[in-house]
Assembly symmetry: C2
Homo-oligomer: 300 residues x 2
């Protein structure tokens, strides 16, 4: 299998899209036809997730480069939830989408290897998110498995939540912790740059502060950024601008609720009924793509 960054860059160029659709299933927000019965078993809820995600994937495939299932929303449903998570991965990959497993795993040595085997193996995603607090011991096993399997890793560098600053913005020799994390990830990624010029070691970069995004773009020129928080979390397309390199590449942008449950969002709910959720999702993903392509082409 070819290099993850090359596959992602190729998909971006072919589809002219940097859109990632987050699969964050919540039973109470599913369109009416997928609503589980009151007091439904874990198996029933997981089955609804499975059916819903397959249809979401069909709708977004022409417009998105990847889906990002958030495993936290599957885990409450135990083994059935994990089966639904794996089904979403297999189905999306079968349709030619890349899959980023948002698992934020972290551990060291053989334990990290076990996580990597679980999440970057043949049935796993194309890439996963990982947490850097344990240092390179906690990142290398994921990177090694990813390199072997043509897959990728997105290191949490700078997140977009308000309290991210409590640890990530602490100043070390005048520079925030997240810049130190960025350099650690850059160093580990240097040996894994593909023909696209990008490394299989990417970074999660919240785009809510333009200055930090610019700093990180400079610190990690060969990293693909996974930018969360577009749409429902208040981020706008313009915020993503500093995440792109002059080549117009270097970032993918995620929206979860804003696409998945577009039919219930203020922007769309007047135009689409809950029964028309597919049309609402397609309108939302198309509009997101259009807005980001505008920003992206202005960088090139």
């Amino acid at each position: 299998m070819s290099h993850f960054a090359d596959r992602l860059c190729q998909a971006i160029q072919e589809k002219r899209s940097c859109v990632v659709v987050g699969l964050d299933p919540r039973p109470e927000q599913l369109p009416p036809e997928f609503q589980p019965s009151p007091g439904a078993s874990a198996e029933e809820v997981a089955e609804r997730f499975r059916l819903f995600h397959r249809q979401v994937v069909e709708v977004v495939t022409p417009h998105a480069v990847a889906v990002k299932p958030q495993i936290a929303f599957f885990e409450p449903y135990g083994p059935a939830g994990i089966a639904a998570y794996l089904d979403a991965i297999a189905f999306a990959r079968g349709r030619g989408l890349l899959v980023i497993g948002d698992v934020k795993r972290n551990d060291i040595g053989s334990t990290a290897e076990a996580y990597a085997a679980a999440h970057l193996g043949p049935d796993g995603a194309d890439a996963v998110t990982v947490n850097p607090y344990l240092g390179s011991d906690g990142l290398k096993p994921f990177i090694q498995v990813a390199a072997r399997n043509g897959k990728g890793v997105f290191v949490l560098v700078k997140t977009s939540n308000p309290s991210a600053s409590e640890i990530q913005d602490l100043l070390v020799d005048g520079e925030p912790v997240y810049v130190w994390v960025a350099r650690l990830a850059r160093g580990l990624g240097e040996a894994h740059v593909g023909r696209s010029g990008y490394s299989l070691v990417g970074a999660v970069v919240g785009a809510t502060q333009a200055a930090s995004a610019r700093t990180l773009r400079r610190e990690m020129p060969r990293a693909l950024f996974l930018v969360p928080g577009y749409g429902a979390q208040g981020g706008a397309a313009a915020d993503c601008a500093p995440c792109f390199n002059p080549d117009g590449l270097g970032a993918v942008v995620n929206s979860s609720r804003g696409i998945l449950f577009a039919y219930a969002e203020p922007a769309w709910r007047q135009r689409f009924s809950p029964e028309d959720w597919r049309a609402a999702t397609e309108a939302a993903v198309t509009e997101m793509r259009r807005q980001i392509e505008q920003v992206r082409s202005a960088q090139g």
Copy 2:
């Protein structure tokens, strides 16, 4: 259900033990009777794990206060692996052991709530490990669910792996990042102190450096420390001394391989054949308990 820290302190005092047995299953290290067949399915491996852990729990229950299943070793076996993880939790709790789910989860807002619902709900562990890189947004949802359910949280503060220093030891205003994390966790735990005087917000503290353990004991007087790395990872009982408070409480100490696969460890393999793995495990957990009680009583 009563307060997690009170339950753990009561177990320590009743059993005169601070021992936590890590359940880190690896198919190739299972005693002969549990060895899966070559090319075994995930279901078969998971079933072997299930049977093995039930017997391990029977052997260690008189000598340990808790088991700590490491979910990373279950996740490669998909839904069947998760079922085996949940079975270990249910079986150990049924025998009166506390269960610490070593999941190192982390995320924010409703995503963290979903993780907490999955791992600290009725079928979940008594406590879980969480990663602090996202700040209090990533810790509060776990703490709130834990408080509601009589459960606990161990925040990764200072880990024992060599590269932990790359992020955790960076100096901020003359103090390492892990001390800042400790203060964040202490602040979040202050509202959740039980009758034992300990908070449901504990800390993972690698005891490989005595100076940092002493600093953290001072910074987090009301936190229970989960100390990893005893035995197989090279840590000795004496290293744990600074993790105890003058009351002789305040820490539990984990060993995984050293107990679970004692029959294969240098210290025991001459005395016990692989068929006698139960006797080896019992000898190892008894000896670990004895050594730590010695250290602990010297603190009181």
